[in-house]
Structure formats: C-alpha cells, structure tokens
C-alpha cells in the first residue's frame, strides 16, 4: 500500500507486492535523480523515503505547500517500509493511534484512484543528510553528501537512523528510539493456494501473526527475547545483509505449527530479517524539537508504520502548517521525552522490554522494569527501606504505596489484573491516614521553574501566558492554565508569587520539556528576564491530613492555623534546623496540609524531623495511588490524563481560574470569550458508580465509554476507587451528539443533570450518578479538638 502512497507522491505508479522487489531495487521507476544536481533551496526538506517521509510529503503538498524536497540515502521505500510484513491493523491501544490507523486505511483505498496528481515533491535518492544547519535555534538548511539545501523546515523521517541523525546536529535533537531484529517467514504456496481474501490472523498467546502471501503464508512475531541491533549506529548497507537466524525463530515457528499443524508440509521460501524500530514507551514519536524550531520528527513506529503512516503524516503536516495538529497528540509528542531518555544503554535495555510487550496483555498501571532508578529523590533509599514500591515518570522514581513489613504482595507476574488489585488494602490505609491523621508523600518529581526579572517583565509575560490573574499579593498561590490560541491547556500549574518580581511555578512531571519549550518560545529575548529549571534543586514533601498543621507548627515554632497561614499561601520558613524551606498551604488533593519545597541538602533532615515529630500524630508514608484516589474523588482534573491541548478551562468547570477581565490580553482569551458566548461542546463530569461490586466486577481504569440515556456521549479519562464514598469514581467528558447528524452540539449544565448515565466496563454497563461539582460531604471541615477519640491514638 505504501507503494501507492509513493507513486502518488512521485506521479508514477509502481505495482505493489513482493514480487516487485527486484523492480523496486533496480530503481527503474525512480528518475535517475542522483545524477541530477540538488536544488539549493526549498521550503521543506524531508529526510527519509520510507512510508513516513512520503506520507508527510504527500500531505504537505496536498495541503498546498509545493516546495518540498525528499531525500533518501538509499532507494525509495527500502528499509522497514520495503521489508515490512504489510499488515494494517486498526485495533490500537490509544484513541489517537486508532484515529491514525483508521485514516491510513481510508487513505490507502482512496490513493488507488488518486494516482497521477501533480504534487510538486522532488525526490532525490542515494542522497544522505549529513547534518542539519541551525542558526539561532532555527533550521536554516541541510548539509548533504551532494551539497547544501537552504530550507525553513526539516523533517526527520529517517526511521532507524533518526536517532543518529538527531545527534549529528551541533545542537543535538534527542529522538529516543532503537532498532530490534524482526523475523518473518515466507513459504511457497499451499497445494490449494490461499485466496487473497484470507484473513490475517494474530495469535497473541503464540506471539505470532499469519497472513496470506502469494498463496502461501507470511508469518512472523514478537518474541520474548528480542535482539537489539545497531546500538552503535550503523550504515544503510548492513540492513540489506542481515542474517536469518532460524534458532532465534524457533519458538515462533513452534507456536505457528502448534496453532496450525497442517502447515507442517509447507515448503520454506525464506526467513526475512527486517529490523523494526521501537521507542521507550511503545508509542511513536512525532512533533517539533523543543530546542530547534522548524525541526520536525516522525519516527519510531513500533512495528506499526504501515498502520500509522497515513494518519501520522497528516497530523505532522498539519502541525507544520498550522503550528498544531487537529487532534491531541500529546501521547506521541517528541516533547514527552527529554535528553534523559537518550542514552544508548537505556534504549537498548528498554526496547528489549517494549518489543515483547507488543503481544503481551497490557494491564493497567503497568510499570516498565528496565531503565529504572535514573532520577531519584534524595530520600529514595529511606523510602525504599520502608517498603516503597515505585513507578517511574519521565525517568523519575515515585512511590506508589508502601508495603507494610507484615504484608506480602503478589509477584510481579501474578499482580497483573483488570480487577481489584492486590494493593487495595494498603492504599486504603494510606488514604484513611490522610483523612484522619497525616501522611507524607515524596513529590519531588514535579517540574519546578523559577521566573524572575529586574522589573515587571516576569509578571507581564506570565500574565500574557496564563489565564488566571497573577498580579496577586506576594505569598499567594494561583492555580492557572497555560493555554494555547484555542484556549486549550498546554499546561496546568500552580504558581506562587515569591516576591514582586519572582515566581515559582509547579507543573506535572512530564511537562519538563514541553513547558520549557513553550515558555522559551513565547518569552522575549530579554536579559532582564530569567527562566530557570529548579526541579533538581528542591525535594518536595507533601504533608496531607488534618494533623499536618500540628506537625509543622511543632517543627517550626510558628502558628500554622488557617488564621495565620491561610489556604493557597506560600512562605519561606524554618523547619527543624533547616532554614529557607518553602512551605505552601496546598496538597494537590483538596485535603488540608502543606507542600514543603526543601533545598535538597536539607531533605533528609527535614524528612527525619517530620517523621519523628509526626509519630505522635500517627504519621506514615504514602504514595501516589493514595494521592490519586484523593484527587479524583475531589474531582481534580490532571493535565496529561484529563486535560489536554484541546480542552479548555470552561469545559471543565474552571471558570473561576480564568480571569477574562484581568486587564490585559492572554493567549487563548479570544477563544475563551467566544466559547463563553457560544457555550461548550463537551463538559468534564464526575461519575459515581452505583451498582459496581469492587471485589467482583472488572474495575474501570480509563477510556470506558459513557452512555447517557443509552446514547454514547464520550469516554472516561481517569478513575479511582474512593475510600470515603466507598464507590468508584470516574472522570470524563460528556458530549452532545445530534441524534440525526452526529454533529457536536452545545452541552449545558441542564443537559448533564437531566441524563441517566451508564459507564461501560468491558461490555458491562454500570449505572452512574453524574456530578459537576465535588461531593459536598467530602469538602473538608475543620477538625474540632473534642472530636478526638481513642482510635486516634493508634499508630496508622
């Protein structure tokens, strides 16, 4: 199918199929371009003549850009594109992947009719890109082995070589991907040759796929023990000469013959070794480099290049043309990674875990086991010794929960479940402790920036970039969104005003690269305005619970009651012997308590003091699962999970965090004004499951369909068990699709409130109550001194 795509791009049609290997290789159909001189200038240079490069070229030209040069170091459609098994699967894990695959599928059908259209794409094969020329953080040209081309945009679609190419820049662009050998088998035809409409079969238990190929079969798979290759970087030639490794293929052959014993008599034609590229999280990589403007990437397809080719090319083309794609692609955005995922050793180890996962059952809350313990808090060893179990985000280890000494959890493999997990009771006791006493959670992974200026520059730029009013008295904390032109969330953060001219900004962990790039892009070049990433400078401890006040006041000899230290307030103070601790009265959960931002050298001291003083208040460690349960039952949306670039504050009930009339313009204001007038087309809603049996029913995780009066209206984005409500809580967006046309209509409060809802978990619908505001009983009330009872004296 990719040949159609190529042929459209090249205005020439090549027949597809394996039988045409030789013709493709002879290059007869490719103009003898290598003898032709390269143009000196182009708007876009695309590196890589595989399916990705050609798809980007096709979409760009279709959307109206005509000045495009596509360079290929070997032949067009060589590499994985040529050798791939040619399976297009539209059953994907992520919604965005699903959309890309659906689009690709339609596109490939449509392309058959489209051939012969003028595209304006010039293709040069046997031309290698040496490096990309960057001036002042902006792409200006490309250096090839055949000369230089000036350009505004460069697209790295170099597949397995994208990593090397990214590093070849003076300002390296890190594109974390790594190749593994991949084998599949070709046989001679069956006695009665298979029909071309024979369905493709995927046997995930056997880790294999099987499809018809010229009356015989083509069968490959994703083995448990992959062979990473080209770790040191290799040239194009080697991919042609890869060895067949029958012994390595043996387990896959065994499972093929176990599934289809009749195939025993089939005669072997050959075993093809076709390396595939994998990424650290099994999702492809697209988007613009955070450090070099005009440098775009589309690579790392995890064996699904053909499925994604069409859709991914379209989104990238939109991204280049409009500055953003038409869908939320954060899950695939290059900026979800930083330089820290770019170590060869890390990639080599991680892809060995990723590739087998392709055919493994993917359970919720699964953590990668390889490439861990890269970034840790100074308290890591202390927490680990106390039973912490860890998860990783952006390379940072975060505690999930703490296994008490007397409790055993299941082994890793046995703990995989879609039902009630083994940590249920552990998290319950942590949540209870947060509600009744005090817990401490190490939240050091959060991204922390400081913005300072000599004059009012910091305030001005922040007022322009953020929707809430940041001109607040010193010491106040503001929850605010960093919005794009469409009013959607680029980031959701808390900003504390440290002084008139300096601000402290706390964002989700995986915002480190994205938020930095966004701020840099919009901040004026002004030496009086300083942006600093201080993530590594502070250890963050979250003291959650009614007793946090007591612990902190005992440690600081300062009154911490709400009268002296109101909510959403920030103050530098001493805790124990340590001075200069930033104490903030917020907990990211809606529970009472404090965040302590501690310069790392004091981290251990403060932690030890907190734990020892906290003992008499029943303090204990807690992890992110407890935090998650607390925030979800309080209807707190989280960026990256619930919020994305296409959701606006008005759609999730955060009008109060947007100050449309703060006296100056900010990014996204126009869109919000318009939305305020027109109404929203989706609404963030909380659902409380009614008839769900926590012990016996499958749990909701995220992505479950929401039904209103029997009609599909959207999907959940996150969910958690609320130990307080003793019910599952799901968060998600409700749409209003017109019954006749399917068109999206305005969603009103009334529309939400006047529906009967069901959440579909794996085919079973559960009744749910919809809420637009947190449950009243959960809103914290002050604890009264005479409420104390005997059980409060127990250690939690």
């Amino acid at each position: 199918m990719f040949y159609w795509l190529l042929s459209v791009v090249r205005r020439q049609r090549i027949r597809r199929g394996w039988q045409k290997w030789s013709s493709a290789r002879s290059g007869a159909s490719v103009a003898e371009a290598h003898s032709v001189a390269l143009p000196t200038q182009a708007q876009v240079v695309i590196c890589g003549g595989g399916i990705m490069g050609t798809s980007v070229a096709y979409h760009l030209s279709k959307m109206g850009w005509k000045d495009i040069v596509l360079l290929e170091q070997g032949r067009l459609a060589a590499g994985s594109t040529r050798f791939c098994a040619g399976i297009l699967s539209t059953a994907r894990h992520l919604t965005i992947e699903q959309k890309m695959a659906d689009y690709s599928n339609k596109l490939y059908h449509q392309l058959e009719q489209e051939t012969g259209i003028q595209t304006g794409v010039q293709i040069y094969d046997r031309t290698s890109v040496l490096h990309v020329i960057v001036k002042k953080g902006q792409v200006t040209g490309v250096e090839t082995d055949k000369g230089q081309i000036q350009c505004q945009y460069f697209v790295n679609c170099a597949g397995q070589w994208a990593y090397e190419l990214g590093l070849s820049n003076e300002e390296p662009v890190s594109i974390p991907l790594h190749a593994c050998e991949h084998f599949y088998l070709l046989t001679r035809p069956l006695e009665t040759p298979l029909q071309s409409n024979t369905p493709t079969i995927v046997d995930t238990d056997g880790r294999i796929y099987i499809r018809n190929w010229q009356g015989g079969i083509l069968s490959g798979g994703f083995e448990k023990n992959p062979k990473p290759i080209f770790t040191e970087g290799k040239n194009q030639l080697e991919i042609q000469n890869l060895q067949e490794d029958w012994d390595h293929f043996e387990p896959l052959l065994s499972s093929l013959l176990r599934r289809m014993p009749q195939l025993e008599t089939l005669e072997i034609m050959k075993l093809v070794n076709c390396p595939e590229t994998f990424t650290p999280d099994m999702r492809c990589i697209m988007g613009e480099s955070p450090s070099v403007q005009g440098y775009f990437v589309l690579a790392g397809m995890n064996s699904a290049g053909l499925s994604f080719g069409g859709g991914a090319g379209k989104y990238l083309a939109e991204w280049m043309m409009h500055g953003y794609p038409s869908e939320n692609v954060w899950e695939l955005d290059l900026k979800r990674f930083g330089a820290l995922q770019s170590s060869r050793t890390f990639l080599r180890h991680r892809v060995m875990e990723v590739m087998p996962l392709l055919y493994d059952l993917k359970v919720p809350r699964w953590d990668f086991q390889t490439g861990r313990q890269l970034r840790t808090s100074p308290l890591y060893d202390r927490l680990d010794a106390q039973g912490a179990r860890w998860m990783e985000k952006h390379g940072f280890e975060r505690p999930k929960y703490f296994v008490p000494p007397d409790k055993d959890l299941l082994a890793l493999e046995q703990s995989k479940t879609f039902y009630k997990p083994d940590w249920f009771d552990i998290v319950e006791s942590e949540v209870k402790c947060c509600k009744e006493a005090v817990c401490v959670i190490d939240m050091s992974s959060f991204t922390k920036f400081e913005i300072t200026s000599t004059g009012d520059q910091a305030l001005e730029i922040l007022q322009y970039l953020f929707s809430n009013d940041l001109d607040v008295p010193v010491g106040h904390i503001v929850h605010t969104g960093m919005l794009n032109e469409g009013g959607g969330y680029e980031n959701d953060c808390s900003i504390a005003r440290l002084s008139k001219r300096s601000f402290f900004m706390i964002s989700p962990t995986d915002q480190q690269v994205h938020c930095w790039a966004w701020l840099k892009k919009h901040m004026p070049q002004d030496s009086n305005l300083l942006l600093e990433d201080v993530t590594w400078k502070y250890t963050a401890l979250n003291l959650i619970g009614p007793r946090a006040v007591d612990v902190l006041s005992e440690l600081s000899y300062a009154p911490m009651t709400p009268d002296h230290f109101p909510s959403l307030f920030c103050k530098e103070m001493s805790v124990g012997y340590a001075n200069g601790i930033r104490v903030m009265s917020m907990t990211h959960t809606g529970e009472p308590g404090f965040m302590l931002y501690i310069p790392i050298e004091y981290a251990l001291h403060v932690y030890n003091e907190v734990m020892s003083v906290g003992q008499k208040y029943g303090i204990r460690n807690a992890g992110y699962y407890a935090l998650r349960s607390l925030r979800i039952e309080k209807f707190f949306a989280f960026w990256g999970q619930d919020l994305n670039t296409l959701t606006t504050p008005l759609e999730c009930g955060r009008e109060s965090w947007v100050k449309l009339e703060k006296g100056m313009d900010f990014i996204g204001r126009d869109a919000l004004l318009q939305q305020k007038q027109n109404g929203v087309y989706k609404r963030f809603t909380m659902f409380i499951l009614d008839d769900h049996d926590t012990d016996l029913d499958l749990w909701p995780w995220w992505g479950e369909p929401i039904y209103r009066n029997g009609q599909y209206v959207g999907k959940t984005t996150s969910s958690a068990y609320s130990y307080t409500l003793e019910r599952h809580v799901c968060l998600g967006f409700v749409h209003n699709f017109s019954e006749d046309t399917g068109e999206e209509q305005v969603v009103t409060t009334d529309f939400i409130n006047r529906g009967e809802y069901e959440i579909d978990i794996a085919g079973h619908r559960f009744q749910a109550k919809a809420k637009l505001y947190p449950v009243a009983s959960l809103v914290t009330h002050k604890r009264r001194k005479d409420d104390v009872e005997l059980s409060d004296l127990h250690g939690k």
Binding site: L185, T187, T231, E232, Q243, E244, D245, W246, D247, H248, F249, E250, L253, S254, L256, L257, L263, E264, T265, L266, E267, I268, M269, K270, L271, R344, T345, R348
Partner: protein, 591 residues
C-alpha cells in the same frame, strides 16, 4: 589410564596442624587407612563411599574406631553401595590425591602393594536402594555458590578492552577450601590481572598470595614517576593513587589484621624500586616485572616469618603463611599482549577457534612437577650429584611435595638451623605441632623449592577466544582438549552450531521445526549455567563416560560429606577470561 596418585587417607586432615597431629599419635598405622593407590590400577568407585554411612560424627571420632576395629568388620557393617551409579558406570574413581604428604611416616606407606583394590576385592557388599539425592536446584545452588562474573564495562556502546570479561568459580573438596582466586584491573597501568592459587598444608599461604601478589606485580609495572608520587603521598599523608580495581566474589576475603603489615612490606619494595631507578626511563618489561614480583613476595613471606610480629595473632599468621604453601598461575592481559606467569602445577590454557569452527587447546604454562622432564633436570642440576636420587622420590620433591615450585613452604627453603630457631622462638601452637618440627628427609642443600615463575608470552590473535586458568583439580579430571571444547561451545552458544540457511533446498516447516528442536535440546544444558566456569565444573564433576553431564552422578558427587569429598576430587578453581575478537582484530589491523 589415569594417573593415580596419593589418595588422602584421613579426611580430618584439613589444616596442616590438625591433620598432622592426628597422624602423629597413630602408631603403628593401621593398613586400613593407607588408601594410597598404586599407579595405574583402576579402582572401583564402589569401594570408596565406604565411610559414608559410618560418618555420623566428626572424623576425629571415627578414626579411633577404625584403629581399634578389625578391618573386615567395618567393611561388613558399613559398606553399602550408596553410589550405585558410580559403581556401574564409572570405570575408575576421579583420581584424587594429597599433594603434600604431611608426615614422613606417610610417605613410607606408599608402597604400591598396599592398595585399596585388594582390600575391596574380597568383599561383598549389599546393595541398598538410593535414599539421598540432591535435586537439580540443590545441585545448582551448590555449584553456583561461588560463581562470579565480571563484564568489562562498555563505554557508550564501544568496548575498547581486549578482555570482554571473565567468569570464575570454585568448588571446595577440602574444608575449608585451600584454593584461592584473584582478579583485578590495573589502574595506573593498562591491563588486567587474573590468577588461581592452589594452597597446600592449609590455606594460609594461598590466601596471603591471593591478596598480595597482584600488588607486587602492579608495583613492579609502575613507572618511576608513579612510584614517587605514591611514596610522596604516603609520606605526606595525602590520599593514595589507587593501584588495583579488584573484582571479587563476596566470599573472596582480605585479611584485615595483616593489612598494615602487608602494606609495609609492599612499601619497602617500592622504596627499593625507587632507589634502584637509574634515572633513565626505560620501558618496563612485563616478564621481568612478573618474575620480580613473585620472587619478592615469596621473599617477604619468608622474611616476615623470620622477623615475627609483636602481635601474637599476626605472629602466628605469618608463620602459618610461611609454613604452608601455594602454587600460582597468573595471567596479565594488556591489549594483545598476554603474559602467563606460573609457579607450580596450575595451568593456563588458551581456547582457539579454528577456521572450521572447531576448538583446539594451546597450553600457555608448564606444570612444575615430576611429569615435567625439564623440572626434574633443573632440580638435579641445582643440587649435588649425590642427591640425584633423593631430591625427587616417588614423583615428589624429597618424597613429600608434588609441585616443584611454590610460594611459602619454608620447610623446603630454610636451613635446618633457621627452621629450628624460628620454631623454638615461635608460639606454642607451632611448637606443639609435629609437622612443623619435622625436617624433610635428605635435607642437605636447601633451598629445594623456589617461587620463581616461568613466564610465557603470547600475542593474542582474533581466533584466540578465551583463556582458562585452573588449579590441578580441574586438569586431573578433564583433558585439556575437552576443557577447551566445552568452554568454547558454551561461550559461543547457538552460534557455534552452524547457522541454518535454507538457500535452495526444499525444506518443509515440519522438517525445520524438528531440526531446530533438536538443536535447542542440545543447547539446553548450556543454558543452565550463566557462568562458563560453573559449566566447566558441572562437566568436571558430573561427566559420565560419554562426556555428557549425568545428573545422578553429579548429585552423588556433591552430596558426599565434606570429609569424603577430598577422596574423589581436589579443590577446583577456574577462571575463564573471554577475549574481544573485534578489539584484538583491530590491533592486528593497525599494523
């Protein structure tokens, strides 16, 4: 026919002091304990588990029993065939022997007539069912208890060392084990040091050599400026340059108590090296450095014992080190330059892969024992003609010691006067010990023993895939060719089997599947071990007559009580060093 050498008669003889004193009190020696086997007579293994049933208590209790009993009665009651498999399938027991006869009386037992074979022939044994087996996991946990692997770290995916890494392991027969091993990377010069040390008459000497020898070598290799820098740092109390990066198994310990003493001796050595320096910077010759280091360390061991130490513990320690002995086989690898320094009868064997993929063994060391004509010649030349007959008797040095070169063993080095003086002024433990007091027979012109190594040089080629260093415990159970083949096939794993290519032939999926399953089964025994040395020990101990590992046999061998183990095998210590053919090849291409 295997070489049948002295079989250890008294399992209780583990340390030199206890074993020797035990014997000294035994007169006349009962014939039952003269297990020494005549050369060349195969011994049925069935006879050997003799004591296994009668071994409920400590050996010391057992021997008086033998002494007082009539032999036939013991056989009649205690000898069951508990090792049915060994009886049936093994044509002879794995030869084992005591390398160091502990008492002159012992040597006199060694008459070929007195052999176990004769005693056992007339005996009928009742066959009782096997009751005690080790399961495969238990076998593995025993075999893997001492295994250690080291991979030379890769830097950014590029490995610049000619050594990929090494696997090492040891299996005790003595309790405690008398073998030692060491591995370290030189930090101030290039290269890696690896060595195996086989102790006798206790483990004190092999322990000391394993801790100290590499420092002596490293210091010998250091350029003058570095020595000066280190000396100045010591003098001024600054931090010292580290010299060695050790790669140690947790069981490989260093003696804390002697550390200061050892350091002072080493420092004296480098101070002398500094003083000797003529000022012109000459290239340091590795061969010379190795020889100097060996000799110097042995000299220091001897001196420390003569001088003594005010601390009574240390004083006893240095004496034990000096009066026990150890052989050493050390490899120094730096790029393509491989030096092997050998003293004694451990061995270094190079695994070479021929063009057709087969393996051949290249010996890089010579055994210093009676089987080596040149050693016999050397000994005879070093002593007066009238000693020609006594200097080597029954293939032993002065009729006592099997290796002809060794560290320590001052009984074969010091004059009679010196020995007496040191013993008299030494601690009581020493004085009470019959063995130390005993002077070897025909002891006229000491020294009879040297620690000077024989150094061989080999320039690595791409076909040189690995080096096996092992104590004689391995070499006496396995032929060198088998050793190299087993390691070679292990290290190359699948790759050794010619990769299958279909090209042109008519092969069905079923046929291919059958072929692959067969190949995998062949390999599965290899996959049981993650360590080449462990794999080798598995074969050394568990091989049946067809050269395949037999679990039942392995299980029996490993379940022998520690007192008996020594009869079947010696301590085995193995280091397998793997070379990086790419790096070696690159060196070659540079020229």
């Amino acid at each position: 026919m295997p070489r049948c050498r002295g079989v250890r008669a008294w399992p209780g003889c583990r340390g030199w002091s206890r074993g020797a004193s035990l014997l000294a009190s035994r007169t006349p020696p009962p014939r039952a304990v003269t297990l020494l086997l005549p050369r060349g007579i195969p011994v049925r293994s069935s006879s050997l588990p003799l004591f296994s049933d009668a071994m409920p208590g400590p050996t010391q209790l057992f021997f008086p029993l033998i002494r007082n009993c009539e032999l036939s009665r013991i056989y009649g009651t205690a000898c069951y065939c508990h090792h049915k498999h060994l009886c049936c399938s093994s044509p002879y027991l794995p030869q084992s022997r005591l390398r160091y006869t502990s008492h002159p009386a012992y040597a006199t037992f060694c008459r070929p007539k007195d052999n176990w074979w004769q005693y056992t022939q007339g005996r009928r044994y009742a066959s009782t069912p096997q009751k005690f087996y080790l399961t495969p996991p238990q076998v593995n946990s025993i075999l893997k208890a001492n295994e250690y692997s080291f991979k030379v770290p890769e830097f950014d995916g590029k490995n610049v060392s000619s050594v990929l890494g090494f696997d090492s392991n040891q299996l005790p027969a003595n309790a405690p084990i008398e073998d030692r091993r060491s591995a370290a990377t030189c930090l101030q010069t290039r290269g890696m040091l690896l060595g195996v040390f086989d102790g006798h008459a206790g483990c004190a000497c092999s322990q000391a050599v394993s801790e100290r020898l590499f420092y002596y070598i490293a210091v010998s290799l250091l350029p003058h400026e570095t020595l000066l820098e280190i000396e100045n740092a010591v003098e001024s109390g600054r931090a010292l340059l580290p010299i060695l990066q050790w790669h140690k198994h947790p069981n490989d310990y260093f003696s804390k108590e002697a550390s200061k003493l050892y350091f002072n001796s080493l420092r004296t050595y480098w101070q002398e090296l500094i003083d000797l320096n003529t000022g012109e910077s000459t290239d340091i010759d590795v061969k010379e450095a190795l020889i100097n280091a060996f000799k110097r360390l042995d000299n220091d061991i001897s001196l420390e014992a003569q001088v003594g130490d005010p601390n009574s513990f240390l004083n006893y320690l240095v004496l034990r080190v000096a009066f026990s002995g150890a052989t050493a086989c050390v490899a120094h690898v730096d790029g393509v330059d491989l030096h092997v320094a050998n003293t004694g009868d451990s061995r270094a064997m190079l695994g070479v892969q021929e063009e057709d993929g087969s393996w051949s063994a290249v010996t890089l060391s010579n055994d210093h024992n009676a089987q080596n004509e040149r050693e016999l010649e050397r000994l005879k030349l070093e002593h007066p003609k009238n000693e020609a007959k006594s200097v080597v008797k029954q293939d032993r040095l002065l009729g006592l010691l099997m290796p002809f070169r060794a560290f320590g063993d001052v009984k074969f080095k010091w004059s009679i006067d010196l020995q007496k003086r040191v013993i008299e002024s030494g601690p009581d433990q020493l004085n009470d010990n019959e063995y130390t007091k005993f002077i070897p027979p025909n002891y006229y012109t000491p020294p009879y023993l040297t620690a000077e190594p024989e150094v061989t040089y080999h320039r690595l080629r791409p076909q040189d895939k690995f080096l096996v260093l092992a104590t004689d415990g391995l070499w006496e159970t396995m032929h060198r060719q088998d050793v190299v083949r087993i390691v070679g096939e292990y290290l190359t794993g699948m790759h050794h089997q010619q990769p299958i290519a279909v090209g042109g032939y008519k092969v069905t999926l079923g046929q291919m599947h059958g072929l692959l399953t067969e190949r995998r089964a062949k390999m599965s025994s290899v996959f049981e071990d993650q360590n080449a040395a462990t794999h080798l020990i598995r074969h050394a101990v568990g091989n049946n007559e067809f050269g395949a590992v037999d679990h039942e046999r392995l299980s029996k061998m490993l379940s022998l009580p520690e007192e008996l183990a020594r009869m079947y095998r010696d301590d085995i210590t193995i280091i397998v060093v793997q070379f990086n053919s790419h790096v070696v090849g690159a060196y070659q291409n540079q020229e």
